[in-house]
């Protein structure tokens, strides 16, 4: 229905219209509700007070050693057919990605070669796999090759057969994924900057917490390296970097 002086409305169907001869789109009952007639009616139905029914009913049980009473559900829930349990599936599928399984040759104490990143080529000691992300926690030791307590993905690492005994190394419980997670500090851009990447970030500063944790872990790891039967070579091993030389092919190498 158009008001006088209203804009020409876009053409639309009447509220109820014929689909086919004698068949309306909405039934009389449906239209009753669509018109909002029920809402306009004055009669109000008083809400019946529902007495709260007890969920459990205590029933007497026979037998001298049975405690005499049992609490039984007043009304047992509906029993669904096995097939109908399909309807129990939640609308949103929960994502529980599995943490990547550790390669069999990577065990705590294995010496790994880092293949990419700032520390590529360096040999480090594997400490443990972190629970949440599955990344490997490694340490240089920092004194030997400047690699701190750090996370690495398994794919970016070659496991060597050299192993250091780190059973005596107690890794602090605080070293979790949250501890290593990067925190992005937003820096206000001031005026024209030649390279936003160069000056937009604040330089990373090592926290005191990291330094103390590093010292604690490295002390134990360095002690284990000293106890190793080949410790004389191992120290130099950690200090030097791995690289592919002439006529060396990794597919032929035993690491």
């Amino acid at each position: 229905s158009q008001m006088a002086g209203a804009k020409k409305a876009t053409p639309r169907f009447r509220r109820n219209y014929e689909l086919a001869t004698g068949v309306m789109r909405f039934s009389a009952a449906r239209l009753y509700h669509k018109r909002g007639v029920a809402l306009c009616k004055k009669t109000k139905i008083a809400k019946k007070a529902v007495a709260p029914t007890a969920k459990f009913v205590t029933k007497k049980v026979g037998g001298s050693k049975n405690g005499g009473e049992r609490k039984v559900l007043a009304s047992k829930g509906a029993v669904y057919l096995k097939e109908d349990h399909v309807l129990d599936k939640p609308a949103k599928v929960a994502r529980n990605p599995k943490v990547q399984t550790l390669r069999k040759n990577i065990t705590p104490g294995t010496v790994l070669i880092i293949l990419a990143g700032k520390h590529k080529g360096k040999r480090v000691v594997f400490l443990k796999q972190l629970e949440k992300t599955g990344l490997l926690l490694v340490t240089g030791p920092h004194k030997l090759n400047n690699v701190p307590l750090r996370r690495i993905a398994q794919s970016f690492v070659i496991a060597t057969s050299t192993k250091v005994d780190v059973s005596g190394v107690k890794i602090p419980e605080t070293l979790t994924d949250a501890y290593f997670k990067r925190t992005h500090t937003k820096v206000e851009k001031k005026g024209e900057q030649a390279n936003i990447f160069a000056s937009g970030h604040q330089d990373y500063k090592v926290s005191e917490q990291r330094k103390t944790d590093q010292k604690l872990v490295d002390k134990a790891v360095l002690a284990s390296i000293k106890k190793h039967p080949e410790h004389k070579f191992l120290r130099g091993y950690f200090c030097t970097r791995f690289s592919i030389r002439k006529n060396q092919a990794p597919h032929n190498m035993i690491f």
Binding site: R103, N105, L115, A116, K120, G121, L144, N145, N146, Q154, S155, F156, V157, I158, A159, N195, F197, A198, C239, R241, F242, S243, I244, R245, N247, Q248, A249, P250, H251, N252, F255
Partner: protein, 125 residues
């Protein structure tokens, strides 16, 4: 007495970095005699001479590094003229150790006969 030059700890010297990739040459695109398919490149790897050995490299990431005239921004470093096209080794090719690779962008023809680096990651050993 003149001040001694500050001694930089050698353990962080980037110059000590060695090669962490296998050298390869871009020998051409996959092709029949008269037609070529630019989406798939054939790489000839250094020191790899049979199909078994070539299989080790399948899945490894591969990069074509080249220089251009104009400098481009590099995240976390000064703008540089060095550019690269990344890709992956997809499968072995033939019996004598060649390998096929697919790049994010097809390799340019100027790369024919040029050096391609086959990285050691994603590692499986």
């Amino acid at each position: 007495m003149a001040e001694a030059a500050p001694i930089v700890a050698r353990k962080n010297d980037p110059a000590l970095n060695g090669r962490l990739y296998v050298k390869a040459v871009f020998s051409g695109f996959t092709r029949g005699q008269r037609n070529q398919n630019e989406t798939s490149s054939i790489l000839k790897l250094d020191g790899v001479f049979n199909k078994n050995d070539a299989q080790w490299y399948v899945g490894k990431r591969v990069v074509y590094v080249y220089k251009a005239h104009n400098k481009k921004n590099v995240p976390g470093a000064a703008p540089s003229r060095v550019r690269c096209i990344w890709g992956r080794v997809t499968r072995s090719h033939g019996n004598t150790g060649s390998v096929r690779a697919k790049f994010h962008k097809n390799l340019p023809a100027t790369a024919l006969g040029q050096r391609i680096r086959v990285m050691l990651y994603p590692s499986n050993i």
